[in-house]
Symmetry: D2
Subunit: 391 residues, 4 copies
């Protein structure tokens, strides 16, 4: 039997996927006025950004204000910069946080921040109040870089999901110690979907989060993220920090258009104007309908669950991390593969990352466009190679 051919969609990362059709349509549309191609004011003075500002209030509460930026690195660094005054330039985070492992040192190089990285209690990438508390000491000592905020990711780098209650407990510790709370939501839609379609505000605004990095790119935008300010004391600084951090787009309407497409209700018709109920949603009189991004995230999560179910059947040829069993999980799984199996799959064109070279742990990540057939094909290929390896 020959090897299994990989589908055109791999499992390397959700940022290998393309742009959602609804987002692409929104871009084309944003390039037109009602009749002709019209000019719009640069730097955010446009109609799409105005619409975005309403949508953000629908999803995050009436005090929420969004500042579109270009990528997740910037959303995180600017958020942290906003939270940390010059004399408290440290950030408490998990030792496997994206801001520590994957931003190339941007928080330190560009913003002068120091990260107090903490080992988590379990191998699930999640901070707990106890662990955060352990980093809070010598608060009046100049010899220790003072933390200005706690930063968590939802979903985490390990594909796990914090509940609203878990986040609230961390925010409480942060606030009780004079710090602010940042949530890196590069995959916030996947988190919302994993939490059963809970509204964003339930595990951000209502859970004491002060500022959010809202991720659009990984869930199908072309390239659009937003900093969402929930604590209005941070508002005056944000526009200036975004500019000096080189993240202000002149044609911002196209970033806003992408974010709007993600945040409009999933079943919105193009011709339909659903702004009539804006006030009611913002006031909480009617619930905020599920946005497009969460619909697609739910699909990606479901594909990962399907893959997980299939992978479990390959045990003991394959090993699963303990956390993978009980936790709420989103769109990625992290099994341990024999090195030869990984090599052979890579050689055959299968795309996925090796997460830890020593242990052989790998990451399979599903995207908004992952199809059921892709999963079946991958499971077939895994089974084939694992069995071949056993011989």
């Amino acid at each position: 039997m020959s090897t299994i051919t990989p589908p055109p969609r791999g499992f390397a990362s959700d940022n290998y996927a393309g742009v959602l059709p609804e987002v692409m349509d929104a871009l084309v549309e944003a390039n037109r006025g009602p009749l002709v191609l019209a000019h719009e004011a640069a730097y955010g003075g446009d109609s799409m950004t105005a619409r975005l500002s309403v949508l953000i209030k629908r999803h995050f509460g009436e005090k929420a204000v969004a500042f579109p930026v270009f990528n997740g690195t910037a959303a995180n660094v600017i958020s942290l910069l906003a939270c940390c005054p010059r004399h408290s330039p440290a950030v408490i985070c998990a030792e496997n946080a994206h801001i520590h492992c994957d931003e190339g040192g941007a928080p330190e190089a560009t913003a002068g921040l120091k990260l107090h990285t903490l080992k988590t209690e379990r191998d699930d990438g999640k901070l707990t109040p106890k662990v955060v508390q352990s980093a809070i000491f010598d608060r009046d000592s100049v010899h220790r870089s003072q933390p200005g905020c706690v930063s968590i990711s939802n979903t985490t780098e390990l594909g796990t999901v914090y509940t609203a209650a878990e986040i609230k407990a961390l925010s409480d510790v942060a606030h009780a110690n004079g710090m602010l709370m940042h949530l890196d939501g590069a995959r916030i839609s996947n988190a919302a979907a994993a939490l059963g379609g809970q509204p964003f505000r339930s595990f951000t605004t209502d859970a004491g989060v002060d500022i959010v990095s809202f991720g659009g790119t990984k869930i199908g935008a072309m390239g659009a993220e937003a900093i969402i300010v929930l604590n209005d004391s941070l508002l005056p600084a944000l526009p200036f920090l975004r500019k000096t951090s080189m993240q202000l787009a002149s044609k911002q309407r196209f970033a806003s258009a992408q974010l709007c497409a993600l945040l409009e209700p999933e079943n919105k018709k193009n011709e339909e104007d659903n702004s009539s109920d804006d006030d009611a949603v913002i006031a909480g009189r009617i619930p905020c309908p599920t946005p497009l991004c969460v619909k697609y995230a739910a699909h990606a999560n479901a594909m990962a669950a399907l893959l997980n179910d299939g992978v479990k059947k390959l045990v003991p040829m394959i090993r699963l991390p303990e956390e993978q069993v009980g936790d709420i999980r989103a769109n990625a799984i992290f099994p341990f593969l024999p090195h030869q199996v990984t090599s052979r799959l890579h050689a055959n064109g299968w795309r996925f990352y090796v997460w830890a070279h020593i242990t052989g742990q790998v990451r399979f990540m599903c995207s908004w466009d992952t199809e059921k057939e892709d999963i079946e094909q991958l499971l077939k290929a895994l089974k084939y190679e694992l069995e071949k390896n056993k011989l």
Copy 2:
């Protein structure tokens, strides 16, 4: 007689204009594989970025390497950072340079650079060797922040254009003094067009420039600029500086697709593959055909010239700056208007910037989409208001 209604396209800035149809087509196309929506490697490992790298060599010579970034602020700051080692963190520039007046202090705040700003000999925004030379002294004194590079803009902030010879003379001074040469090309296509369609390399690579901020957004991209490294000693650092400066796109293919669309020959058919003559163009055996961006820039420049001709006829009701008469100019003009005229035009919906509040100087900027009728309409409105004002 009633006031003249402004067209949907204003004269505020070329970044108020939308996206070129060819660029929008390229984006839609980049979202598809040959048959299905396919994944592409993130962070530049994609096919569009590969094509961009060839196109950049066609236009800037075989040693040129492009690094797409999100906006002009970043293209400039990262370029300057690459040119300035830690112990020579100063930049020589004109006192009205964009990096000094309009980046919100990003070069200082984010990169720790100091700008040695110089008054130009004429009021045309252009540095000259003599002026640059005046800032080169105390080269071994630690009390003076040592310049690591000279930075010019082409076109300048005042709409004027440096010739290749003028740039060469500045590069020579820079290099003779151990400095590098940076060209801010936010409107480089307008400069090329104003220079009679000269290839980009004639006034960059061949004029001794070490690094270029290549502007795509103002000439019709959705949001894409590129740092073009011409001096290969700068190459090792660039990828890392781009990352720590928070300017690496995960779905970089879409930025590259925009830049490719701008740089392909203007008459390229979508179905046509013109990669066959890449080698010949790069080797200089056949000339590089005019790219799409220069075609559109020529149009914008022509519209500005038309406007200038019309405005001249309004003298002496309107005053023109001396430089506007003789210089090579691009897509903007800077006449002096009576304050009441400006106010009334603004009140009636005409969009343009006041350049200097005290003198009443204003800026009318043409874009790739400015139409002849827009100019005629503006001239009519100007004439109407000026005459009304005279009474």
Copy 3:
């Protein structure tokens, strides 16, 4: 006739002079406990720093708090950093301010600050409300780096002196525009002496200044300056900013000892304890006696006045700047010398700086240790060379 031999004390800078005998005595004494060489807590928890804190309140008012640092660059940069939140990182200053011309770019490189440098109305190095006002515009524009403070030097780089009223007028403009006021007092003792021995607080605390760089080194310390915080909203950040700026001394008692020696009454006997009247002085019930540093500064100023008188007699062989005639001046004069005269004096070992190569302006600076004979000798040498030059 042979040339005139220069004395062992030159006119290059007051930082070429040595340490005051009273300061050296204080250092020796600080190294001893009452009976034996005893340990004292590091980082400011020592008895000399405790005494300094009282002395600072005597001189600057009961809210004043001092933070010793190592040099003037640091006193300035940390003060500016304290005044400028991250989103207002610009500083308004004169174009010949020390922070702009002589700190090697430290404000930009280390602190990310941008300097808005202004041309002064007269050639005296002094900002005026009108000039400061000209830099206050576009306060809500992210494209302009927003100023967080105004910084002046007293004495200025040109040896002139601001009156308390002039400073008050600038502070009012700063505060009315949401900015703070910084005074670079590298030669604050010379300013106080030039103002007729006015107490420091009259032209700082009482003139609306928020933070002061207090200079000790130029008036006879070995190396000790202090940041004096007058606006208590800046207090919480200062200790941390000093530490991250690498300016916290472990054996701080020796810096404090120097500053104490400078600030004790000029006629203090070593054995005498004058702490009995601390409360009365701080409460303003009895005047603060002239401190040692102002006594010595008055001497240096007097020597410069003597030199100025002598130089005036050499007109027209020598030219004086207009400002030198009418202004309140401190310990430096800035005449214009023929180039050959400067060269010959330098060749003969006379030490003074050329201030402006093109015009031939030079600076003669007097120190706490300049003697009357040194001035007479210099005047003789000047006369000799000027006459020789005329022939």
Copy 4:
């Protein structure tokens, strides 16, 4: 029986100690010229700095160049900045390194550096090639902040000492991977003494170290450290980095005088000129005699050894860390004390730091001025309190 009274010299830190008499004499002398109080050029152009430059070559080899700075934080941060180009801004160090735990975040805040902190193999604060190697991966990935150097401390924070061979092994790993080697020598004299009086160059220059933070303050200077550049490729940048880092002293002669006093032979007579053999020592024809700082360091180390011997006799009432038994150690010991004992000693005025609150580990540090009676007194007090605690 009453409690034991602590001596005037505590065990908190060697920076609680005062200034060596020889250093104080040197300062007084540096303030005089041969006959009168004379001026000397500022910023290093003085005779003491000239002498320092010879002494540094005697101790570190003919290519060594010293740059005096004010404190250890600065010596470290500037050294690291010199080693790390903008695109490799990370530093590999032990997780208990001073630069990570005690600089208040200065490396990050001021210099934009990221620290890759590593757990050591044993609990001795010492990196090993294997551990360093574990941090060297993904060398071409922009997502990982690339290390530009390895930084170790000798002595370490835990009072242990690297041998020359151990340092050489680390330098080899650093250099083989394109990194430089930094040695934080805040207590380098104690290390030299612990290594049997080995010349400094044996475990720095000859062991492949590129740059050294030479500590003077803790071994009896008033406040003087030096960056010693051993790799001459770092020389051009250093003066500028020192200035922008705000560490250039105007009256540098006094810092140099302190360092000279520490580095002259221990038995130097004041009147004696020992510059005659400079060339021979630098050329290695005659050995470099033991400098004053190492003589005093040997005394401090001996006092710590005496204390250690006494403490061992208190086992098992007191617990010692394993490392304390076999390792080469310098002037500090780290036993574990019952909390009540620590509290009572502190209450009675004994000065020493709690190193780890949870385990009860404390640090007793000896200084150049610790006397045998101080040790005996401390041992008595310890014994008294431990026995009282046992009851």
